[in-house]
């Protein structure tokens, strides 16, 4: 097993796909000469040169639209947003043009492009830089939305995204880029749970299919559904709750669209209790959608209502204490699990 960081896993995915397919290129702010604002693309300019690793000016509308046009022509662009917060100025391109092109053209022009970058709260960046876009974008037909929570998923899902014929939004997290680094708080769990992707010797061409959830921790008493960074809050909560004798099953859908509701429902039918965690605002969120689908498919198996744990319904505050409290954090998940299982 190798231990690589989340950012290195993203890089390996892009490198392997660029070596495999000449049509793939990476474009974004500071991806080339600066080696990546968050060092995700470090060293890639040296390997692939300025034709394929392209520094763009700060023009999200321009370069995301460029990616879509290039994809229509037959290339395989990877468009990096330094933060998904910055994608909002490119909304017309990424949610009007990318997902609807195939339909509007009657199947003639698709958009096999990947848009990727940091999603969610970083560290005290304030409300404009802390967007969680999964709830807004997962409702758009024509898009696929992946949200990897480990280096293994980051590599496997991004490789799949690059090969996919449809536009894929890959939602990463600044707070997870160092995941897997020695000294990282999750490092011991990382080793224990083998969150590393397999080496090339172990698996020649490692990919993870979309729409297949991963059971991050098996359990029998309550199902916790979480994706992206909140998976780690959920696992921390599960560790604490184990001391109280509550055995949590943590399900990570890994892609919100397509959504593997079957694995979630199967788990709920076993545990009879369900907590849904997601890091976007509660109103009309992906968590609300999952809760609704759990009711639709497993109503008779539930021994209590589904409880949702979300980001608080506020703009992200700068203050550190408030920011930590705003998140769907470990304490909130623990309280939700206790509340939902009180009648167990």
């Amino acid at each position: 097993m190798q231990t690589i960081q989340y950012r290195e896993a993203l890089r390996e995915a892009m490198q392997e796909e660029m070596r495999r397919d000449e049509r793939v290129f990476l474009m974004g702010e500071e991806v080339a000469q600066y080696n990546g604002a968050y060092k995700v693309s470090q060293g890639m300019l040296d390997e692939f040169g300025p034709r394929r690793i392209v520094d763009s000016p700060i023009s999200e509308t321009g370069f995301s639209g460029l990616g879509i046009g290039a994809a229509m022509y037959g290339l395989r662009p990877i468009i990096e947003f330094m933060s998904w917060s910055f994608c909002l100025v490119a909304a017309d391109q990424i949610i009007n043009n990318a997902p609807k092109m195939l339909y509007m053209s009657g199947g003639q022009f698709g958009c096999p492009a990947v848009f990727r970058g940091n999603n969610g709260a970083g560290g005290q960046l304030g409300s404009t830089h802390s967007w969680c876009v999964e709830s807004m974008f997962s409702s758009v037909p024509g898009l696929k939305v992946a949200i990897p929570s480990t280096p293994r998923d980051a590599k496997g899902l991004l490789k799949t995204a690059i090969r996919d014929e449809d536009p894929v939004f890959n939602l990463e997290s600044e707070r997870m880029l160092g995941l897997g680094a020695r000294g990282d708080k999750d490092f011991s769990r990382y080793i224990k749970d083998t969150w590393a992707p397999p080496t090339a010797r172990e698996v020649e061409d490692f990919t993870i299919p979309f729409g297949v959830a991963d059971i991050k921790k098996p359990g029998k008493d309550v199902t916790i559904v979480a994706a992206g960074r909140p998976v780690h809050f959920a696992l921390d909560a599960a560790e604490e709750l184990e001391k109280e004798g509550i055995d949590c099953e943590v399900i990570d859908p890994r892609t919100y669209r397509p959504l593997d509701i079957d694995t979630i429902v199967k788990s709920v039918k076993k545990t009879n209790y369900c907590v849904v965690v997601d890091q976007s605002w509660p109103f009309a969120s992906v968590g609300a959608e999952i809760a609704a689908q759990v009711y639709e498919h497993a109503m008779d198996y539930l021994d209590n209502k589904v409880i949702r744990v979300n980001n608080d319904d506020v703009p992200a505050p700068y203050n550190r204490t408030l920011e930590q409290e705003m998140l769907p954090n470990t304490r909130k998940i623990i309280e939700a699990v206790r509340a939902v299982t009180y009648n167990a």
């Binding site: 290129f25 040169g49 300025p50 034709r51 392209v54 763009s56 000016p57 023009s59 509308t61 321009g62 370069f63 995301s64 639209g65 460029l66 990616g67 879509i68 046009g69 290039a70 994809a71 229509m72 022509y73 037959g74 290339l75 662009p77 017309d92 391109q93 009007n96 043009n97 092109m101 195939l102 339909y103 509007m104 053209s105 009657g106 199947g107 003639q108 022009f109 698709g110 096999p112 037909p141 024509g142 696929k144 799949t160 090969r163 996919d164 014929e165 449809d166 990919t207 299919p209 979309f210 729409g211 297949v212 892609t255 397509p258």
Partner: protein, 369 residues
């Protein structure tokens, strides 16, 4: 119906040495668009075409002159006033009309409508309905041409309203820094919907300033004179064709992008529902005196390149094709409800579920000519 006559003897501004078949082909293309759009208006008024519908009459010389100057594989992309571009690019009028009727035989199976004409075999990358939204896409086409080291040029059309959009300026900047092979074409008909250009655009009398801001070439053409349009586009397309940039790791060559101001005029309203209170009938009639079709007809007759009989025959052919397009659209089957759920994903449920292959209708359409 707008008459197509030899009464107006306005001479084309360009001295040309184009062979007669090319001239006659350009005349036919303009006549076809004119007659097709007349039929389109009728069908819209009969409520057989729905949604928004923007008529190209008056501007025919711009699309026809531009496309005539291009290679077959040069990709073009435009805004929502797109029937003329589709026809000029070679789309069969039947598919264009059927698309507006929402029929399964339309170029996009009736899923796109008047504002979204796509034709992959003819390198027509769509009509796009959000003003200026196609400009970055056009840059993407040019980027891909450069990336693949092809000897082509992308042409991105838009109206004068688009030059006030951010997307236009970002696209111009990207094309300039990377010396991309693209022509940005403002079809300057003087109005963005009902707003005269001076009311909405700074330096409206000096659009060259927009190009200068990005260090880009600028050209003007009389967009109501197909020969002048052809001449300017031929020159600029050849300069831009195959341009590459050392910033993208290639040898710097070619003239790079150009911003072309095609001065034109639309005779009809912005869309079919426009009462046109913002301009006078005199203004419209003045412009009709310089009608692009009459101008070319006058030139051909005066120079004894074509007889009135030949011209009449060509107009009849255009009328027949337009009438046939309506018949074809009316007789085509409606889009079945099952088509609602196709073409949303190329890989509907991710790799494990890939069904593979192109949708059936697409292959049918492609072989339909």
């Amino acid at each position: 119906m707008t008459p197509i006559t030899t009464e107006d003897k306005v001479k084309p501004t360009a001295k040309n040495s184009l062979p007669k078949p090319k001239l006659m082909d350009m005349l036919y293309q303009m006549m076809l668009i004119r007659r097709f759009e007349e039929r389109t208006m009728q069908a819209y008024q009969q409520a057989k075409i729905g949604g928004f519908c923007h008529i190209y009459i008056g501007q025919e010389a711009t699309a026809v002159g531009a496309v005539a100057a291009l290679h077959d594989e040069d990709p073009i992309i435009t805004a929502y006033r797109d029937h003329g571009h589709a026809l000029a690019r070679g789309m069969h009028p039947n598919y264009c009309m059927a698309e507006m009727y929402g029929k399964v035989t339309g170029c996009a199976k009736g899923k796109g409508g008047s504002m979204h004409m796509f034709d992959k075999p003819h390198h027509m990358y769509g009509g796009h309905a959000i003003v200026g939204g196609q400009c970055p896409l056009g840059v993407g086409l040019a980027f891909a041409i450069q990336y693949e080291k092809k000897n082509n040029v992308a042409v991105c059309f838009f109206g004068d309203g688009a030059i006030n959009q951010g997307a236009f300026h970002e696209a111009m900047n990207l094309a300039a820094i990377w010396n991309l092979p693209i022509l940005f074409v403002v079809e300057n008909n003087g109005y963005s919907m009902g707003t005269a250009i001076h009311r909405g655009t700074a330096a409206a009398d000096n659009l060259g300033a927009k190009a200068a801001a990005y260090g880009m070439r600028y050209a003007e053409c009389d967009g109501m004179d197909v020969l002048d349009t052809y001449k300017v586009f031929k020159r600029e397309a050849d300069l831009a064709r195959g341009s590459t940039s050392d910033q993208l790791g290639l040898e710097q060559k070619g003239g790079g992008p150009c911003f072309i101001n095609a001065k034109t005029y639309r005779y009809q309203g912005h869309s079919m529902s426009d009462p046109q209170k913002y301009r006078s009938k005199d203004e419209v009639n003045d412009k009709k005196d310089k009608d692009c079709i009459n101008t070319l007809v006058g030139y051909l007759v005066e120079n004894k390149l074509a007889t009135q009989d030949e011209i009449d025959a060509l107009d009849k052919k255009a009328k027949d094709a337009s009438r046939d397009a309506v018949t074809y659209a009316e007789e085509s089957p409606d889009l079945p409800l099952s088509e609602m759920f196709t073409d949303i994903y190329a890989q509907p449920y991710g790799p494990p579920f890939v069904k593979g292959g192109l949708p059936k209708m697409l292959t049918d359409n492609n072989s339909g000519e």
